[in-house]
Subunit: 418 residues, 2 copies
């Protein structure tokens, strides 16, 4: 059994060095899929791996980068990693921590001459964050077979019209050969991803780390509310069918349904809302909005949708507006693998921290990887729950904890899995 | 005393003919300030006046068009008219009716060889409707001295960046000579404008016409609501500062304040609302909206604003959001002239209709004209209260009534005024 610990100073330096790539003048990081900073970050990682691990990097057809340290048995690798891209004006931990911690784990194994039964591979996935190609967790989505060549070849950047094909070529992939990137059952023994929590549950409980038991399901409706776009002066109050007021009632009713559940593991949001014609002197005639529900329990989602329908009926009746609802996403929750979770929990116990299991309220590459191999995640506390912003931060002592817990979990899996 | 009546068939034909100018494929009329259709409508009117009245047209520096039939005394003219521009996809009565009825009145005087003490002038004002130069009732605003040369020279089209100067030149005006367009006290004896009501008060009362006792005051606030734009998945319900939910509460509270007044002559609307960043997976961090109140009673407006402040305080406290309010318009109500109103009421009596006085809930050129001469308005019923849309319509029998009532009012004023 290994009693080595990770080199936290080295990991801290690597986090800092990589964070300079794409740093903007607001203190945030712009490292979107296919950007110049994406390419630079890839170069940085490849140069680091080459220099410090002396292992070859394999870039697959969707431009995910893989580095593999050999094991002593002829079995499939255990993969660890995350992604190196960021949201616009994002932070330095979301994604990068998972990749650099995976790197640190392999480096510490190497330094200590630790042999493992399984090869241990590092992965940095392509385009995990939402981006103007409208496809998130792109790299893991492709390798898990959730999206095929034809669909990928049709994708364009909604902002500038450039193709995903050109974008992927620029970063070393090739959509024409996407079939080669598919991971088949048995290709990988297990996958573990370390990620910041991005919420307040750990900070509120004063805990450093947790294992993830389920990655949230995401349900979205496009809702159109149709009223009557009359003159805001000449239409008396009692004659109005104001689409925006209908939307306001719906949003508040939706919030009440959610709050009444008194749960920290189900959330609902209307984040997108547009008014037509959107002029100060015209009563809103139409509103388009996107309503989102996130939960790991399909029954709770159904229950919210049912209650929402009752509220929508009331609003239509009372206000004389029409409410047209269309499901545009119903992505099921993804429970994490029991064996991997147990190993992560033991890793957390091994560093003297309490075992805590959390639902991941955000999507992650691990949800796709769970489709092709047994997968798990380990969360580390986000200070103030902040993420996707320049002030995203994690205490270095907590990074040390999550690193040593993950190292232990990795070695447990290496012993236990075939 | 004249016992002639207007020629309703001719007026009906003229309304139909002018409505072809700028007609779009949705059945509406696109005749915005400075558009090709604006220029065509001007040509149509000038050709009609030239052919049927044989009177010269004077186009002033803001491109208002004036036609004057001589009186027999050396006194200032009584002016009648309205505007010929429309909102995008507007109707065929808003504005055009006032100009064509004024034309019909002069034509009928001419045909019947009726001499008047005052010259009777027709005016068709420039750019009465809201437009991308962000200045409505432009022509009457300029002649009444509400906006000066420097300000006008700085105005640009917010959609395409072109200048108001170029626009006005294209339609026959010249912003450099704007001083010449000013109307001084004594230049005009009185002003009467006929317009569709654009609301449901006449249709609900089954009445054809009304005189206007006051043109509504318009008060607008730009309101910014600042919350916290967090991750819509990882931020639990109780930790949110959702700016949109704050805006929803404010809008519903505002509606309740208005409805509790149980008045048809005070209205309030949030017609413009934008959400930032406006993404399905991000809690709205900021909302910008425009709130409008219309009333002829400043005290009622103050009262609404006071109640709104109480509600805004509650929302800030309960939701942890900031609400920043800034008055961007506080245009006072404009009571119409008593003498002109009395003449209009007598005109209405003369056709056997009940006298009804209404507040105009929309702004009109007459509000500007009241600043420089005694002014009044006569309203005619809008079917279903519709306006600013292709289905805007007025019964032809009601147009005949308003025409004859206005003819009578004009002759009364001609007799009574010096």
């Amino acid at each position: 059994m290994l009693h080595s610990k990770i080199n936290i100073n080295r990991l801290e330096k690597n986090l800092k060095d990589l964070s300079a790539v794409g740093k903007n003048d607001k203190g945030g990081i712009d490292r979107a899929l296919g950007s110049e900073a994406d390419r630079e970050a890839r170069k940085w990682l490849m140069a680091y791996w080459d220099k410090n691990l002396e292992l070859p990097v394999k870039t697959d057809a969707i431009a995910n980068m893989w580095v593999e340290r050999a094991g002593i048995e002829g079995i499939a690798p255990i993969v660890i990693g995350s992604h190196h891209d960021t949201v616009p004006n994002g932070g330095m931990y979301d994604g990068a921590l998972g990749v650099l911690l995976a790197t640190e784990l392999v480096q510490i194994l190497e330094e200590n001459n630790v042999t493992t039964r399984h090869p241990i591979a590092i992965v940095s996935f392509t385009g995990e964050e939402p981006n103007p190609f409208n496809v998130s967790t792109l790299g893991s989505r492709v390798v898990s077979g959730r999206v095929g060549k034809e669909e990928l070849l049709g994708i364009k950047n909604i902002e500038d019209g450039t193709t995903l094909k050109d974008c992927i070529e620029k970063i070393g992939g090739d959509l024409e050969k996407i079939q080669d990137a598919l991971i088949k059952t048995g290709d990988i023994s297990a996958f573990i991803e370390c990620h910041i929590e991005q919420g307040r549950r750990l900070v509120d409980a004063n805990q450093a780390v947790a294992s993830v038991n389920c990655i949230i399901g995401i349900y979205r409706e496009n809702i159109t509310i149709i009223g009557d776009a009359n003159h805001a002066g000449t239409t008396v109050m009692r004659d109005r069918q104001d689409a925006l007021l209908g939307a306001c009632e719906l949003n508040l009713a939706f919030e009440k349904i959610l709050k009444d559940l008194e749960s920290d593991e189900v959330v609902g949001t209307i984040g997108y809302l547009s008014v037509f014609p959107n002029a100060a002197n015209i009563i809103p005639g139409e509103v388009e909005l996107v309503l989102e529900i996130r939960t790991c329990e399909p029954q709770i989602k159904e229950d919210i949708v049912r209650k929402l329908s009752i509220e929508a009926e009331k609003i239509m009746k009372n206000r004389g507006v029409k409410i047209i609802r269309k499901v545009n996403l119903d992505q099921r929750e993804m429970p994490m693998d029991e064996t991997v979770m147990k190993a992560i929990n033991k890793g957390i116990e091994s560093i003297g921290e309490p075992v805590r299991e959390l639902v991941s309220m955000a999507g992650h590459d691990a949800a796709n990887m769970q489709r092709v191999t047994q997968s798990g995640m380990i969360f580390v506390q986000s200070i103030d729950g902040k993420s996707h912003c320049p002030t995203e931060k994690t205490h270095i002592k907590d990074i040390e904890k999550v690193g040593n817990a993950m190292l232990e979990a990795l070695l447990i899996l290496d012993r236990e899995l075939d």
